[in-house]
Symmetry: C2
Subunit: 245 residues, 2 copies
DNA sequence: CGGGCCGTTGAGCGGGCTCAAGACATGTGG
DNA sequence: CCACATGTCTTGAGCCCGCTCAACGGCCCG
């Protein structure tokens, strides 16, 4: 799998190839998509709920989150995205955005006109399939988060999420099972897990006390993968990392 | 919009037309898909987690749920499906199912080979777009449920779900804003809302006491739509009922 | 050196859970 | 027709996980 990130869409193309076999012509067509690169600040919104999304954004570096704010002011983060993720295929194909996408860190992204994506799927159905499948994997992750929030207690919830990030970051070439950067504050962790930041702090403390993980600055060190996966009830099947079939 | 349900895939076709403009040839191609009709019993599983899904199932009548059971034995329902819903485009295109689909009531469904779906999208990209969009709307509903479970209290959660069902059933031609059948037990409502059945009972009681809804047997009567929608923090935007753009 | 931002710690509260019992429908077979 | 089992809903009492409110400490960066 090529890892050269010189081209703005290379990481995206790599990710699509995990989803479906692409012919050389398919790959060229993806890399030939028109796009512009934009630098993004921390906390900058890429899409806001209610926007008509005319562009689709692929992350080149940095981290972003999907989220929505309920009427009572509480925020729920739905997913965390990293290099190579097409961060708003959802919003751009649905028309009107139903949630926000916000940068978690500084970064760079490629913006592709939504029409160009649509046309690409007409001419290159393999690529269309791969992108469709990519959004289906996102769906599977949403479901697992629902299960996580609805049916697991704070310690399990946290463990599960840390395991998921470990695997996804490894696949994206940004770390390994045991050690990765994660630029999230405890408040942001809380909004992802539906916990208060205070309880996030206490929960992490007990996980560290049990020798499962260690967290410094904005990094995570997993000390006992098996223990963490067991506590987190973590089965990576829902990430569909092995491709179709 | 035609409502004749004589053909097994008519309701599905109607639903796709909400998502994208279909040419007559597109419509014919959908209705020409090979399928077999099967009667389904209450609690019958259509797909089980871990299955390799080779068929895609479209509901002709009855209700079905998506769900998954956590390691601690607690079940989370992700969505409820009704006539015309392609209930496992997700699983069948991802390959290995990562969740269960189970009938909530008796019903009938059309089973279409997954390969036929895939080929259809190659020959009829408009149909492919419409199906992709359909799964994206499912995604949006998953996200809203995550928000609902993570960030709203029991009364709001219940109100929100009852509002969602009212609108979706109306679009499917199965009721109206104020009055619809919903064959779910309180235990099933609890598994959808991440509440215990006991608390579901108490919550419904207080909503009835406030004159918002009335529930009998397996039906729902909404007495005060505005009040229920306000309490449930319900904004139907995420259902994307107005089509693309 | 001051002011955000972030993380920690403590004390008390409360929404939803647990456990338990009972009410009320169904259906089923005798 | 009743006896009984099963599934569903209700009600009560007590408890606990995670929340709220509040204060403090560390850190970075101007």
């Amino acid at each position: 799998m090529p890892h050269t990130a010189s081209h703005g869409l290379q990481a995206f193309c790599n990710k699509l190839e995990l989803n479906a076999a692409l012919a050389p012509a398919d790959r060229e067509a993806v890399l030939a998509l028109p796009y512009r690169i934009k630098k993004l600040r921390r906390h900058e919104f890429i899409v806001r709920e209610g926007d008509i999304a005319r562009e689709c954004c692929v992350l080149k570096s940095g981290f972003a989150i999907r989220h929505k704010v309920a009427g009572n002011g509480l925020r729920q983060i739905f997913s965390v995205h990293m290099r190579g993720d097409a961060v708003d295929l959802h919003n751009s194909l649905l028309g009107k955005a139903d949630h926000n996408i916000e940068m978690l860190s500084i970064g760079e992204a490629a913006f592709i006109p939504a029409d160009a994506i649509r046309e690409l799927t007409y001419g290159y159905p393999n690529v269309g399939q791969a992108m469709w499948r990519d959004t289906l994997v996102d769906s599977a992750i949403f479901r697992e988060w629902t299960l996580n929030i609805g049916r697991r207690d704070a310690r399990s919830r946290m463990s599960h999420m840390l395991c998921e990030f470990a695997l996804r970051l490894q696949v994206a070439g940004l770390g390994n099972h045991h050690d990765y950067e994660l630029p999230m504050t405890q408040e942001e962790l809380g909004d992802a897990l539906a916990l208060t930041p205070i309880h996030v702090s206490r929960t992490l403390k007990t996980l560290e006390g049990d020798g499962l993980v260690h967290r410094t600055n904005r990094a995570v060190v997993i000390r006992d993968w098996d223990g963490l996966a067991k506590l987190g009830d973590f089965d990576p099947g829902y990430l569909h990392l092995t491709g179709p079939g």
